[in-house]
Symmetry: C2
Subunit: 242 residues, 2 copies
Amino acid sequence: MTASDLAGELKVIAFDVFGTVVDWHGGIRAEVERMLPGVDGSAFALGWRAGYAPAMQAVMARIAAGEGGFTLVDELHLHILDDVLRDFGAQERLDRDGRRELNTAWHRLPAWPDAVQGLARLKARYTICTLSNGNIGLLTEMAKRAGLPWDCILSAEVFKAYKPDPRVYLGAAGVFNVAPTELMLVAAHADDLAAARACGLRTAYVERPLEFGPGRPKDVTPNPDNTFHARDILALARQLGC
Amino acid sequence: MTASDLAGELKVIAFDVFGTVVDWHGGIRAEVERMLPGVDGSAFALGWRAGYAPAMQAVMARIAAGEGGFTLVDELHLHILDDVLRDFGAQERLDRDGRRELNTAWHRLPAWPDAVQGLARLKARYTICTLSNGNIGLLTEMAKRAGLPWDCILSAEVFKAYKPDPRVYLGAAGVFNVAPTELMLVAAHADDLAAARACGLRTAYVERPLEFGPGRPKDVTPNPDNTFHARDILALARQLGC
Protein backbone atom coordinates (compact mmCIF):
# COMPACT_ATOMS: atom_id res chain seq x y z
CA MET A 1 0.00 0.00 0.00
CA THR A 2 1.27 3.48 -0.81
CA ALA A 3 1.09 6.38 1.63
CA SER A 4 -1.65 7.79 -0.55
CA ASP A 5 -3.73 4.59 -0.33
CA LEU A 6 -3.29 4.52 3.41
CA ALA A 7 -4.24 8.17 3.71
CA GLY A 8 -7.42 7.48 1.76
CA GLU A 9 -8.40 4.55 3.95
CA LEU A 10 -8.05 6.47 7.22
CA LYS A 11 -11.09 8.08 8.81
CA VAL A 12 -10.06 9.04 12.35
CA ILE A 13 -6.71 10.18 13.75
CA ALA A 14 -6.30 9.90 17.52
CA PHE A 15 -3.46 11.60 19.37
CA ASP A 16 -1.52 10.85 22.45
CA VAL A 17 -1.23 14.24 24.15
CA PHE A 18 1.48 14.61 26.83
CA GLY A 19 4.78 14.96 25.00
CA THR A 20 3.19 14.36 21.59
CA VAL A 21 0.99 17.46 21.24
CA VAL A 22 2.05 19.52 24.25
CA ASP A 23 5.41 20.18 25.89
CA TRP A 24 5.01 18.91 29.47
CA HIS A 25 8.67 19.44 30.35
CA GLY A 26 8.75 23.09 29.30
CA GLY A 27 5.32 23.85 30.77
CA ILE A 28 5.91 22.23 34.16
CA ARG A 29 9.41 23.68 34.45
CA ALA A 30 8.10 27.22 33.88
CA GLU A 31 5.29 26.87 36.42
CA VAL A 32 7.58 25.31 39.04
CA GLU A 33 10.11 28.11 38.62
CA ARG A 34 7.31 30.67 38.96
CA MET A 35 5.79 29.13 42.10
CA LEU A 36 8.95 27.78 43.74
CA PRO A 37 11.80 30.19 42.91
CA GLY A 38 15.19 28.58 43.40
CA VAL A 39 13.99 25.04 42.67
CA ASP A 40 15.44 23.37 39.55
CA GLY A 41 12.30 23.38 37.40
CA SER A 42 13.65 20.93 34.86
CA ALA A 43 14.65 18.34 37.47
CA PHE A 44 11.33 18.85 39.24
CA ALA A 45 9.39 18.29 36.00
CA LEU A 46 11.38 15.12 35.27
CA GLY A 47 10.76 13.83 38.80
CA TRP A 48 7.04 14.52 38.60
CA ARG A 49 6.75 12.76 35.24
CA ALA A 50 8.91 9.84 36.43
CA GLY A 51 6.41 9.24 39.23
CA TYR A 52 3.60 8.79 36.76
CA ALA A 53 4.35 5.31 35.38
CA PRO A 54 4.67 3.58 38.77
CA ALA A 55 1.60 5.42 40.13
CA MET A 56 -0.41 4.36 37.09
CA GLN A 57 0.82 0.76 37.40
CA ALA A 58 -0.26 0.73 41.04
CA VAL A 59 -3.73 1.94 40.10
CA MET A 60 -4.03 -0.69 37.37
CA ALA A 61 -2.88 -3.41 39.76
CA ARG A 62 -5.48 -2.32 42.35
CA ILE A 63 -8.21 -2.31 39.70
CA ALA A 64 -7.12 -5.76 38.44
CA ALA A 65 -7.24 -7.07 42.01
CA GLY A 66 -10.74 -5.65 42.47
CA GLU A 67 -9.47 -3.35 45.20
CA GLY A 68 -9.73 0.01 43.53
CA GLY A 69 -11.66 2.07 41.04
CA PHE A 70 -10.76 4.22 38.11
CA THR A 71 -8.66 7.20 39.22
CA LEU A 72 -8.38 10.52 37.39
CA VAL A 73 -4.90 11.57 36.29
CA ASP A 74 -5.47 14.89 38.11
CA GLU A 75 -5.60 12.89 41.35
CA LEU A 76 -2.54 10.82 40.47
CA HIS A 77 -0.56 13.96 39.67
CA LEU A 78 -1.53 15.47 43.03
CA HIS A 79 -0.36 12.42 44.97
CA ILE A 80 2.94 12.31 43.08
CA LEU A 81 3.41 16.03 43.67
CA ASP A 82 3.49 15.44 47.43
CA ASP A 83 6.41 13.05 46.97
CA VAL A 84 8.28 15.28 44.58
CA LEU A 85 7.92 18.31 46.86
CA ARG A 86 9.43 16.22 49.66
CA ASP A 87 12.29 15.02 47.41
CA PHE A 88 13.10 18.66 46.68
CA GLY A 89 12.78 19.70 50.33
CA ALA A 90 9.93 22.00 49.34
CA GLN A 91 6.99 20.40 51.14
CA GLU A 92 6.58 23.39 53.46
CA ARG A 93 6.54 25.90 50.64
CA LEU A 94 3.13 25.04 49.19
CA ASP A 95 -0.10 24.68 51.16
CA ARG A 96 -3.09 22.69 49.90
CA ASP A 97 -4.32 25.49 47.62
CA GLY A 98 -0.82 26.04 46.26
CA ARG A 99 -0.44 22.36 45.48
CA ARG A 100 -3.78 22.35 43.68
CA GLU A 101 -2.74 25.38 41.67
CA LEU A 102 0.59 23.82 40.69
CA ASN A 103 -1.18 20.54 39.90
CA THR A 104 -3.32 22.27 37.28
CA ALA A 105 -0.11 23.28 35.47
CA TRP A 106 -0.81 20.05 33.56
CA HIS A 107 -3.98 21.76 32.24
CA ARG A 108 -1.96 24.73 31.01
CA LEU A 109 0.81 22.99 29.07
CA PRO A 110 1.88 24.78 25.88
CA ALA A 111 1.37 23.15 22.49
CA TRP A 112 4.49 22.30 20.50
CA PRO A 113 4.90 25.03 17.86
CA ASP A 114 3.66 22.86 14.97
CA ALA A 115 0.67 21.35 16.76
CA VAL A 116 -2.18 23.83 16.27
CA GLN A 117 -1.53 24.34 12.57
CA GLY A 118 -0.86 20.65 11.95
CA LEU A 119 -4.06 19.60 13.69
CA ALA A 120 -6.09 22.19 11.80
CA ARG A 121 -4.84 20.77 8.50
CA LEU A 122 -5.60 17.20 9.48
CA LYS A 123 -9.03 18.22 10.79
CA ALA A 124 -10.04 19.45 7.35
CA ARG A 125 -9.91 15.86 6.09
CA TYR A 126 -10.17 13.57 9.12
CA THR A 127 -11.92 13.39 12.45
CA ILE A 128 -9.24 14.23 15.02
CA CYS A 129 -9.44 13.38 18.70
CA THR A 130 -7.34 12.97 21.80
CA LEU A 131 -6.66 9.47 23.10
CA SER A 132 -4.95 10.12 26.39
CA ASN A 133 -4.90 8.77 29.90
CA GLY A 134 -5.45 12.38 31.00
CA ASN A 135 -8.95 13.08 32.30
CA ILE A 136 -11.58 14.82 30.18
CA GLY A 137 -11.63 18.03 32.23
CA LEU A 138 -7.84 18.36 32.04
CA LEU A 139 -7.77 17.76 28.27
CA THR A 140 -10.66 20.17 27.69
CA GLU A 141 -9.06 23.02 29.62
CA MET A 142 -5.73 22.37 27.88
CA ALA A 143 -7.36 22.44 24.44
CA LYS A 144 -9.24 25.65 25.21
CA ARG A 145 -6.12 27.47 26.43
CA ALA A 146 -3.76 26.17 23.74
CA GLY A 147 -6.24 26.37 20.86
CA LEU A 148 -6.10 22.66 20.02
CA PRO A 149 -8.98 22.15 17.56
CA TRP A 150 -10.12 18.64 18.53
CA ASP A 151 -13.33 17.29 17.04
CA CYS A 152 -13.75 15.20 20.16
CA ILE A 153 -11.94 14.62 23.44
CA LEU A 154 -11.52 10.93 24.16
CA SER A 155 -9.85 9.82 27.34
CA ALA A 156 -9.21 6.75 29.44
CA GLU A 157 -12.03 8.25 31.51
CA VAL A 158 -14.53 7.36 28.76
CA PHE A 159 -13.46 3.72 28.65
CA LYS A 160 -12.66 3.30 32.35
CA ALA A 161 -9.37 1.73 31.29
CA TYR A 162 -5.94 3.19 30.67
CA LYS A 163 -3.57 2.87 27.74
CA PRO A 164 -2.01 0.46 26.89
CA ASP A 165 -5.17 -1.57 27.67
CA PRO A 166 -6.68 -2.70 24.33
CA ARG A 167 -10.08 -1.46 25.51
CA VAL A 168 -8.87 2.10 24.98
CA TYR A 169 -7.69 1.67 21.37
CA LEU A 170 -10.58 -0.59 20.34
CA GLY A 171 -12.99 1.59 22.32
CA ALA A 172 -11.99 4.58 20.21
CA ALA A 173 -12.69 2.61 17.02
CA GLY A 174 -16.06 1.63 18.49
CA VAL A 175 -16.99 5.21 19.35
CA PHE A 176 -16.62 6.22 15.72
CA ASN A 177 -17.92 2.91 14.33
CA VAL A 178 -14.79 2.39 12.21
CA ALA A 179 -12.51 -0.61 11.66
CA PRO A 180 -9.20 -0.52 13.58
CA THR A 181 -7.37 0.00 10.27
CA GLU A 182 -9.41 3.16 9.66
CA LEU A 183 -8.08 4.64 12.92
CA MET A 184 -4.51 5.87 13.42
CA LEU A 185 -2.76 6.67 16.67
CA VAL A 186 -0.16 9.44 16.62
CA ALA A 187 2.33 9.40 19.48
CA ALA A 188 5.90 10.20 20.40
CA HIS A 189 6.14 6.98 22.44
CA ALA A 190 7.05 3.55 21.08
CA ASP A 191 5.13 1.57 23.74
CA ASP A 192 1.86 3.38 23.08
CA LEU A 193 2.24 2.82 19.33
CA ALA A 194 3.12 -0.85 19.78
CA ALA A 195 -0.03 -1.42 21.83
CA ALA A 196 -2.13 0.34 19.18
CA ARG A 197 -0.59 -1.79 16.40
CA ALA A 198 -1.40 -4.93 18.38
CA CYS A 199 -5.06 -3.86 18.17
CA GLY A 200 -4.84 -3.39 14.40
CA LEU A 201 -4.59 0.41 14.33
CA ARG A 202 -2.36 2.35 11.98
CA THR A 203 0.38 4.26 13.79
CA ALA A 204 2.40 7.41 13.26
CA TYR A 205 5.48 8.28 15.29
CA VAL A 206 6.28 11.95 15.72
CA GLU A 207 9.76 12.91 16.85
CA ARG A 208 9.87 15.00 19.96
CA PRO A 209 13.59 14.97 20.65
CA LEU A 210 13.25 17.59 23.39
CA GLU A 211 10.36 15.94 25.23
CA PHE A 212 12.55 15.54 28.33
CA GLY A 213 14.20 18.93 27.93
CA PRO A 214 17.35 20.08 26.18
CA GLY A 215 19.56 18.15 28.61
CA ARG A 216 18.13 14.74 27.73
CA PRO A 217 17.71 14.35 23.97
CA LYS A 218 15.59 11.34 23.02
CA ASP A 219 16.37 8.59 20.51
CA VAL A 220 13.99 9.22 17.63
CA THR A 221 15.22 6.52 15.27
CA PRO A 222 12.45 5.41 12.88
CA ASN A 223 10.77 2.06 13.49
CA PRO A 224 9.55 0.53 10.21
CA ASP A 225 6.58 -1.04 12.02
CA ASN A 226 4.95 2.38 12.16
CA THR A 227 2.80 3.38 9.21
CA PHE A 228 4.25 6.90 9.24
CA HIS A 229 7.28 8.58 10.81
CA ALA A 230 7.26 12.37 10.90
CA ARG A 231 9.36 15.14 12.38
CA ASP A 232 6.25 16.80 13.78
CA ILE A 233 2.48 17.04 13.26
CA LEU A 234 2.78 19.51 10.41
CA ALA A 235 5.14 17.14 8.61
CA LEU A 236 2.66 14.31 9.20
CA ALA A 237 -0.11 16.42 7.67
CA ARG A 238 2.05 16.95 4.59
CA GLN A 239 2.72 13.19 4.31
CA LEU A 240 -1.04 12.61 4.40
CA GLY A 241 -1.58 15.17 1.66
CA CYS A 242 -3.34 17.67 3.97
CA MET B 1 -28.96 37.34 42.57
CA THR B 2 -28.92 39.42 39.42
CA ALA B 3 -28.40 37.95 35.95
CA SER B 4 -24.93 39.51 36.02
CA ASP B 5 -24.03 37.78 39.32
CA LEU B 6 -25.27 34.47 37.97
CA ALA B 7 -23.33 34.94 34.74
CA GLY B 8 -20.17 35.57 36.77
CA GLU B 9 -20.61 32.46 38.89
CA LEU B 10 -21.07 30.11 35.92
CA LYS B 11 -18.10 28.18 34.57
CA VAL B 12 -19.53 25.54 32.24
CA ILE B 13 -22.58 25.57 29.97
CA ALA B 14 -23.89 22.18 28.83
CA PHE B 15 -26.39 21.83 26.01
CA ASP B 16 -29.10 19.40 25.21
CA VAL B 17 -28.70 18.87 21.47
CA PHE B 18 -31.69 17.35 19.61
CA GLY B 19 -34.25 20.12 19.20
CA THR B 20 -32.22 22.58 21.28
CA VAL B 21 -29.15 23.08 19.06
CA VAL B 22 -30.17 21.23 15.90
CA ASP B 23 -33.45 20.91 13.99
CA TRP B 24 -34.22 17.19 13.99
CA HIS B 25 -37.66 17.63 12.40
CA GLY B 26 -36.38 19.62 9.43
CA GLY B 27 -33.30 17.44 8.99
CA ILE B 28 -35.07 14.10 9.12
CA ARG B 29 -37.93 15.29 6.95
CA ALA B 30 -35.54 16.39 4.21
CA GLU B 31 -33.58 13.11 4.24
CA VAL B 32 -36.75 10.99 4.26
CA GLU B 33 -38.16 12.91 1.29
CA ARG B 34 -34.84 12.46 -0.54
CA MET B 35 -34.59 8.71 0.10
CA LEU B 36 -38.30 7.80 0.08
CA PRO B 37 -40.03 10.08 -2.46
CA GLY B 38 -43.77 10.22 -1.90
CA VAL B 39 -43.57 9.54 1.85
CA ASP B 40 -44.75 12.37 4.13
CA GLY B 41 -41.37 13.37 5.56
CA SER B 42 -42.80 15.44 8.38
CA ALA B 43 -45.09 12.66 9.61
CA PHE B 44 -42.23 10.15 9.27
CA ALA B 45 -39.90 12.36 11.33
CA LEU B 46 -42.55 12.77 14.04
CA GLY B 47 -43.15 9.01 14.11
CA TRP B 48 -39.43 8.24 14.38
CA ARG B 49 -38.96 10.75 17.19
CA ALA B 50 -42.12 9.51 18.95
CA GLY B 51 -40.61 6.05 19.10
CA TYR B 52 -37.58 7.32 20.98
CA ALA B 53 -39.05 7.85 24.47
CA PRO B 54 -40.63 4.38 24.81
CA ALA B 55 -37.51 2.70 23.33
CA MET B 56 -35.30 4.58 25.79
CA GLN B 57 -37.60 3.69 28.69
CA ALA B 58 -37.43 0.03 27.70
CA VAL B 59 -33.60 0.17 27.69
CA MET B 60 -33.54 1.84 31.10
CA ALA B 61 -35.96 -0.73 32.49
CA ARG B 62 -33.79 -3.59 31.19
CA ILE B 63 -30.67 -2.02 32.70
CA ALA B 64 -32.45 -1.46 36.04
CA ALA B 65 -33.52 -5.12 36.02
CA GLY B 66 -29.94 -6.22 35.34
CA GLU B 67 -31.02 -7.69 32.02
CA GLY B 68 -29.38 -5.31 29.59
CA GLY B 69 -26.45 -3.06 28.98
CA PHE B 70 -25.97 0.47 27.82
CA THR B 71 -27.24 0.93 24.27
CA LEU B 72 -26.09 3.59 21.80
CA VAL B 73 -28.76 5.92 20.47
CA ASP B 74 -27.62 5.01 16.94
CA GLU B 75 -28.78 1.46 17.66
CA LEU B 76 -32.07 2.63 19.19
CA HIS B 77 -32.78 4.81 16.16
CA LEU B 78 -32.15 1.87 13.83
CA HIS B 79 -34.59 -0.38 15.70
CA ILE B 80 -37.26 2.32 15.73
CA LEU B 81 -36.70 2.94 12.01
CA ASP B 82 -37.77 -0.62 11.23
CA ASP B 83 -41.12 0.02 12.96
CA VAL B 84 -41.66 3.39 11.32
CA LEU B 85 -40.90 2.03 7.85
CA ARG B 86 -43.54 -0.63 8.46
CA ASP B 87 -46.06 1.96 9.70
CA PHE B 88 -45.55 3.88 6.46
CA GLY B 89 -45.76 0.74 4.31
CA ALA B 90 -42.18 1.38 3.16
CA GLN B 91 -40.34 -1.58 4.66
CA GLU B 92 -39.56 -3.00 1.22
CA ARG B 93 -38.14 0.27 -0.10
CA LEU B 94 -34.91 0.30 1.95
CA ASP B 95 -32.46 -2.56 2.29
CA ARG B 96 -30.00 -2.88 5.16
CA ASP B 97 -27.52 -0.39 3.70
CA GLY B 98 -30.29 2.05 2.90
CA ARG B 99 -31.60 1.85 6.46
CA ARG B 100 -28.12 2.47 7.82
CA GLU B 101 -27.72 5.47 5.55
CA LEU B 102 -31.06 6.95 6.56
CA ASN B 103 -30.25 6.24 10.21
CA THR B 104 -27.18 8.46 10.02
CA ALA B 105 -29.45 11.35 9.03
CA TRP B 106 -29.38 11.99 12.80
CA HIS B 107 -25.63 12.71 12.39
CA ARG B 108 -26.34 15.25 9.67
CA LEU B 109 -29.01 17.40 11.32
CA PRO B 110 -28.76 21.12 10.58
CA ALA B 111 -28.06 23.60 13.35
CA TRP B 112 -30.76 26.14 14.14
CA PRO B 113 -29.74 29.42 12.45
CA ASP B 114 -28.63 31.10 15.72
CA ALA B 115 -26.69 28.14 17.13
CA VAL B 116 -23.18 28.40 15.66
CA GLN B 117 -22.84 32.13 16.34
CA GLY B 118 -24.45 31.88 19.77
CA LEU B 119 -22.18 29.03 20.83
CA ALA B 120 -19.09 30.85 19.56
CA ARG B 121 -19.96 33.86 21.72
CA LEU B 122 -20.57 31.74 24.82
CA LYS B 123 -17.36 29.79 24.18
CA ALA B 124 -15.29 32.97 24.46
CA ARG B 125 -16.24 33.16 28.16
CA TYR B 126 -17.36 29.69 29.24
CA THR B 127 -16.51 26.07 28.64
CA ILE B 128 -19.30 24.76 26.40
CA CYS B 129 -20.17 21.11 25.92
CA THR B 130 -22.91 18.82 24.76
CA LEU B 131 -24.90 16.87 27.36
CA SER B 132 -26.99 14.57 25.25
CA ASN B 133 -28.22 11.00 25.24
CA GLY B 134 -26.83 10.82 21.70
CA ASN B 135 -23.66 8.77 21.37
CA ILE B 136 -20.24 10.38 21.09
CA GLY B 137 -19.66 9.39 17.47
CA LEU B 138 -23.02 10.78 16.40
CA LEU B 139 -22.46 14.08 18.24
CA THR B 140 -18.91 14.41 16.87
CA GLU B 141 -19.94 13.92 13.25
CA MET B 142 -22.86 16.31 13.73
CA ALA B 143 -20.58 18.98 15.21
CA LYS B 144 -18.03 18.60 12.43
CA ARG B 145 -20.64 18.94 9.68
CA ALA B 146 -22.65 21.75 11.26
CA GLY B 147 -19.65 23.66 12.64
CA LEU B 148 -20.73 23.48 16.27
CA PRO B 149 -17.67 24.70 18.22
CA TRP B 150 -17.88 22.51 21.33
CA ASP B 151 -15.00 22.53 23.79
CA CYS B 152 -15.94 18.97 24.68
CA ILE B 153 -18.50 16.36 23.69
CA LEU B 154 -20.17 14.81 26.72
CA SER B 155 -22.75 12.13 26.27
CA ALA B 156 -24.72 9.57 28.20
CA GLU B 157 -22.11 7.21 26.72
CA VAL B 158 -19.47 8.72 29.04
CA PHE B 159 -21.55 8.14 32.16
CA LYS B 160 -23.21 4.89 31.07
CA ALA B 161 -26.50 6.44 32.17
CA TYR B 162 -29.11 8.44 30.29
CA LYS B 163 -30.76 11.74 31.08
CA PRO B 164 -32.77 12.34 33.25
CA ASP B 165 -30.62 10.12 35.51
CA PRO B 166 -28.84 12.40 38.04
CA ARG B 167 -25.55 10.63 37.24
CA VAL B 168 -25.48 12.45 33.91
CA TYR B 169 -25.93 15.98 35.30
CA LEU B 170 -23.71 15.44 38.34
CA GLY B 171 -21.24 13.48 36.22
CA ALA B 172 -20.79 16.53 33.99
CA ALA B 173 -20.05 18.69 37.05
CA GLY B 174 -17.55 16.06 38.17
CA VAL B 175 -15.77 15.97 34.81
CA PHE B 176 -15.03 19.68 35.08
CA ASN B 177 -14.53 19.64 38.85
CA VAL B 178 -17.13 22.38 39.38
CA ALA B 179 -20.04 22.75 41.80
CA PRO B 180 -23.50 22.04 40.34
CA THR B 181 -24.33 25.76 40.61
CA GLU B 182 -21.34 26.56 38.39
CA LEU B 183 -22.83 24.41 35.61
CA MET B 184 -25.87 25.36 33.55
CA LEU B 185 -27.96 23.14 31.29
CA VAL B 186 -29.52 24.74 28.23
CA ALA B 187 -32.46 22.88 26.73
CA ALA B 188 -35.74 23.35 24.90
CA HIS B 189 -37.38 20.67 27.07
CA ALA B 190 -38.98 21.24 30.48
CA ASP B 191 -38.38 17.70 31.78
CA ASP B 192 -34.64 17.79 31.08
CA LEU B 193 -34.34 21.17 32.79
CA ALA B 194 -36.38 20.04 35.81
CA ALA B 195 -34.07 17.04 36.30
CA ALA B 196 -31.02 19.30 36.06
CA ARG B 197 -32.48 21.71 38.63
CA ALA B 198 -33.13 18.81 41.00
CA CYS B 199 -29.35 18.19 40.88
CA GLY B 200 -28.60 21.82 41.72
CA LEU B 201 -27.66 22.99 38.22
CA ARG B 202 -28.62 26.36 36.77
CA THR B 203 -30.99 26.07 33.82
CA ALA B 204 -31.79 28.03 30.68
CA TYR B 205 -34.81 27.36 28.51
CA VAL B 206 -34.55 28.21 24.84
CA GLU B 207 -37.72 28.49 22.80
CA ARG B 208 -37.86 26.25 19.79
CA PRO B 209 -41.48 26.76 18.78
CA LEU B 210 -40.98 24.86 15.51
CA GLU B 211 -39.18 21.85 17.02
CA PHE B 212 -42.01 19.58 15.83
CA GLY B 213 -42.43 21.37 12.52
CA PRO B 214 -44.62 24.25 11.38
CA GLY B 215 -47.78 22.18 11.80
CA ARG B 216 -47.31 21.59 15.52
CA PRO B 217 -46.23 24.79 17.29
CA LYS B 218 -44.97 24.20 20.83
CA ASP B 219 -45.99 25.99 24.03
CA VAL B 220 -42.94 28.07 24.99
CA THR B 221 -44.41 29.86 28.01
CA PRO B 222 -41.63 30.88 30.46
CA ASN B 223 -41.23 28.87 33.67
CA PRO B 224 -39.87 31.07 36.47
CA ASP B 225 -37.97 28.11 37.93
CA ASN B 226 -35.43 28.41 35.11
CA THR B 227 -32.50 30.74 35.68
CA PHE B 228 -32.78 32.10 32.15
CA HIS B 229 -35.42 32.05 29.41
CA ALA B 230 -34.28 33.02 25.93
CA ARG B 231 -35.70 33.05 22.44
CA ASP B 232 -32.61 31.29 21.11
CA ILE B 233 -28.92 30.69 21.89
CA LEU B 234 -27.83 34.06 20.55
CA ALA B 235 -30.35 35.77 22.84
CA LEU B 236 -29.04 33.70 25.75
CA ALA B 237 -25.50 34.84 24.96
CA ARG B 238 -26.68 38.45 25.09
CA GLN B 239 -28.38 37.87 28.46
CA LEU B 240 -25.10 36.50 29.78
CA GLY B 241 -23.21 39.54 28.51
CA CYS B 242 -21.35 37.58 25.82
